[in-house]
């Protein structure tokens, strides 16, 4: 069964922001709301790496857990979506999310929050697929159109991959094998102490294996 995933190949990401504008374009996302953004580590020095970050559509989503009005749901493919008609804009999901995915439009000095907006994996929301209402509230529903997220489909170097987790993992793994590096940024070194990352598994105190 297709379980949708993102992965951003940090060896290929050149911080071109193509994914960012592709998303803005596709969903007419207003100024101030950034469903996707590129994060750069070690900017300007050897070892610089960039990763494109949006909602990770977590299996065990913290946003979903803390929402006081239960406006989140998860589709069969694992895409985490929410209902803006129920959302009260409290911001709890924003505090809970480790990736900063929930976004709020704001106005003025005190940042009045509106409805939460975030990456939908281009799967729209709880309105009829492809309808005007869905477009206005959540953006386009590319999955229902038989397409994959715009950000990944337009990535300049095909660093950002999205789609069936098996396909995504396959493409990424193929590249890692070819070039013999690139997986350490996704924690392989921490998990397996692999030679790639050149380190032993991280010791995590107080956690029962």
């Amino acid at each position: 069964m297709a379980r949708m995933k993102f992965i951003c190949d940090a060896e290929r990401c050149i911080e071109c922001n193509g994914c960012v504008t592709a998303c803005k374009n596709e969903h007419e996302v207003p100024w101030g709301v950034n469903r996707r953004r590129v994060v750069t580590l070690n900017d300007g020095v050897p070892g610089e790496k960039s990763i494109s970050v949006a909602c990770m559509h977590c299996s065990d989503a913290p946003c979903m857990a803390v929402c006081p009005v239960n406006c989140f749901y998860k589709t069969d493919e694992g895409v985490v979506l929410h209902d803006k008609d129920i959302c009260i804009g409290c911001g709890y999901c924003s505090y809970a999310c480790p990736f900063g995915a929930p976004q709020f439009p704001s106005q003025g000095t005190f940042g009045v929050r509106g409805k939460m907006d975030k990456c939908t994996f281009c799967a729209g929301g709880p309105e009829a697929n492809g309808s005007q209402a869905e477009f206005e509230k959540y953006g386009r529903n590319r999955l229902a159109e038989g397409k994959l997220p715009a950000c990944a489909e337009m990535c300049s170097t095909k660093a950002l991959l999205a789609g069936d987790g098996d396909v995504v993992a396959d493409i990424f793994r193929n590249r890692v094998v070819k070039r013999n590096k690139g997986a350490e940024v996704w924690g392989w070194g921490t998990a397996y102490g692999s030679k790639q990352a050149g380190q032993a598994p991280a010791k995590v105190e107080g956690v029962k294996k």
């Binding site: 694992g78 979506l81 159109e145 994959l148 489909e153 789609g163 493409i171």
Partner: protein, 73 residues
Amino acid sequence: MMQRISLILLSVAALTACGEKAQTLGTKNDATAFSGASNAFVAPGWQAGDKNSWEQHLRARGQYGMNDHSRAP
């Protein structure tokens, strides 16, 4: 305690994938992605309503669109 265990067992039974708690919305239901969209933007090459057809189509699209090594070995 018993209540908790049965609650957990019920949750496990309701799981559609390992480790995930199924959650549905209160009043609204969102249509599945594979049921297609009612507009003219739909990409050709798959059958709306047919889950398998949709999945295969997306897999092929993913490989063609994102795997440059298959286009240029």
